[in-house]
């Protein structure tokens, strides 16, 4: 789905970014290994994961990052540029969870002539609450520049 273009002037601090949910199940775990090419066994081998001290298999960093990136790219539009994303893998997303990904604008500002927006972005689940907090800096086009 094409992302609607977001312009800096139209953004408000406190604005919520559109959220989405992903059901974490066996099929999703296979899609994760396919999409991330992360073959580390705790992500697909339940016995290996339990021996390593985990409750079971859990989703990869690549998967989690892709979901957080999607929150931002769905929102910012084709002309937006993700300047920075940092996140912490504090809790695991595991089969049986529903992963909800959300974001919020925390600040908008101009620096060196570029129009920036800071966002909080995170993943959560019903089981764990917030699993993956993150922060992002997005550069957006300005209506003045576009006009």
């Amino acid at each position: 789905m094409k992302a609607q273009q977001r312009y800096w002037e139209d953004v408000s601090e406190g604005e919520e970014l559109a959220n989405f949910q992903i059901e974490i199940n066996a099929r999703r775990a296979y899609l994760d290994v396919s999409g991330s090419q992360d073959w580390y066994p705790p992500h697909h081998d339940a016995e290996f994961a339990r021996k390593a001290g985990h409750a079971g298999i859990f989703m990869t960093t690549g998967f989690t990052q892709a979901a957080l990136v999607r929150v931002l790219t769905d929102w910012m539009g084709d002309e937006g540029f993700l300047k920075r994303l940092s996140f912490e893998m504090r809790r695991q997303q595991r089969p049986g969870d529903t992963m909800t990904c959300r974001g919020r604008v925390t600040r908008k500002y101009i620096e060196d002539g570029r129009h920036y927006v800071d966002c909080e972005v995170w993943a959560e689940s019903e089981r764990e609450g917030m699993t993956t907090p993150g922060r992002a800096v997005v550069a957006l086009p300005s209506r003045e520049s576009a006009g």
Binding site: I22, Y40, A52, G53, G62, M89
Partner: protein, 171 residues
Amino acid sequence: MPYDIEAVRREYIGMEFGKSRGRYPVEYDPIRRHCHMVDDRNPLFLDPEYAAGTQWGGVIAPPSGWLAMYFASLGPWPPAFEALVPVVPAPGKQIVNLSQDVEWFDVIRVGDHLSVVRRIADVYQKAISIDPEAVWVVSESTITNQRDELVCVVRNTLLFHRTPGEVAAAQ
């Protein structure tokens, strides 16, 4: 011989790994699979005809540090996960990725050919619930394209820990 974190820190912090080039140029299908896993249907990442009409002139990769590392590394097969991980001695061999910080300077286009230089930025020992001797490794990967233009810098924190069985056996 007991594990000596100070000796490991002296030897490894600042160690830089030579520049390595991705096995293949950036391709459509790994981007498609990456998007598929999180139901990302953005045509900028998936539809060449649509993307050609944008300011980028063609399909670009979603700005994921993981995907950038993938394209700058060994490619889709055979799997070679360990080559992506800085080899730092630790009591445990189990790995958990804890955090990532990615700063972007350019987009990744289909057809680009990425390279990476990796550096160990920090190593320290800090207990976790299942292993009092877990080792944390911070690495910094600088990714460039075929024109030696800086694409992104990925700062990653990995945890190396022992299994509960290994911890029990060591006590």
